[in-house]
Subunit: 224 residues, 2 copies
Amino acid sequence: MKILIIEDEPELVKSMVLFLRQEGYVCEVATKVEEAIDKIVQFEYDCILLDISLPDGNGLEVLEKLKKQNKNDGVIIITAKNSPDERVKGLNLGADDYLAKPFYLPELSARVSAVIRRKHFDGHNKITFHEISIDLQGKSVKVNEEPVELTRKEYELLLFLISNKNRVASKNAIAEHLSGDDAELLDKFDFIYAHIKNLKRKLQEAGGKDYITTVYGLGYKMTT
Amino acid sequence: MKILIIEDEPELVKSMVLFLRQEGYVCEVATKVEEAIDKIVQFEYDCILLDISLPDGNGLEVLEKLKKQNKNDGVIIITAKNSPDERVKGLNLGADDYLAKPFYLPELSARVSAVIRRKHFDGHNKITFHEISIDLQGKSVKVNEEPVELTRKEYELLLFLISNKNRVASKNAIAEHLSGDDAELLDKFDFIYAHIKNLKRKLQEAGGKDYITTVYGLGYKMTT
DNA sequence: TGGAATTTCAATCACTTCTCGAAAAGAATT
DNA sequence: AATTCTTTTCGAGAAGTGATTGAAATTCCA
């Protein structure tokens, strides 16, 4: 699950990333409106944490843009301005939740998880795909009821492929999704090969089938 | 043992938390329906104290949600509305007990302990997990009938892990659970390593097995 | 205050992730 | 069908991050 943090206070960002990462999320950061818009236009996030007061403008612009694009990433507005006015504005613009600074990190994490759950899974906490079932709460994967041990990256990769099932996920998209902010990685999407390989192997060992098909020259796909 | 208090009167909440904490419970608070639902979906509690009249809706929604999720946390409904009507509704929805405001704190505590007892142990006061058995009354632990001396933190940790069995408990979550309200636990979940280590060692010395598995990068888990 | 419990710290160890090169497989061109 | 070029696979190992451990420092309580 991937989160975009739009916030300019470095210390706060740092602690948020640390905490959320610990909970198993992949985090990306934008510190300016412009940067944020670039990212939301280009990519898709499971949850966006949006600070309203940013150095180069009002965070709500990002939210507007998002809605104009018909993206339905879950949005949690975060701001020190706890005036009802801002709150209403945000929620009217389609934000999913609202959190006032300063906040307690576990509180944030709980809301993130709630938003993601609501957006993606209608109250179910499990995703299934053929014999594969993913418990999003427990962050565990089973094939034919047998647990399969996946690393964090493998888990994220599987989640990404399944949520793009029947579509080809380009290596670029995968790299972008897996690598958070590590810009250097993006060019060299070599490392994906390794993860794909291992994921394929583990799933195959457990289920007998090769669930992931390579689309030559394009990327990878999981077909229903 | 962890209790979720769903109640919006700050004074009342404060006194409940104080009292129950004294009795050895770990308390968490939600003041709104939405917040409460987020919490019950995500975590598991041994007992839920549920006020019916909440600022953003009816507390019974929480109970419905709980039952829909097939969770069997013990629920005690607490409300000023002592009408038979609400009482029946709540109990029909599967609440375990009912308490009218204003109440006497020891009375509350007695009911909590009764609910927990019923829920976990059908009259007995024990939790078991493989060869481990925990006597909640005496706060003592045995492995293969042999007593194991645990410190308070170790005891709470074990309880926490067991009540989240088959799920990964992140270090964040553990830190939060063990340290109550200390907000600044960011970089400081170091101490968990120590407790985990000691708990593992003690259990292993007693039972021969390593009951606690580390999930690299995420946390710890006890698997049935 | 004294002893136990808890937390911090630093060194070491383990696992994951990334890199790289060589080899295999897939398309394209002749 | 053979050749060539591109893309993918695979394995080995380096780099980076997280986990473990023992000991020391601190805090807590009786």
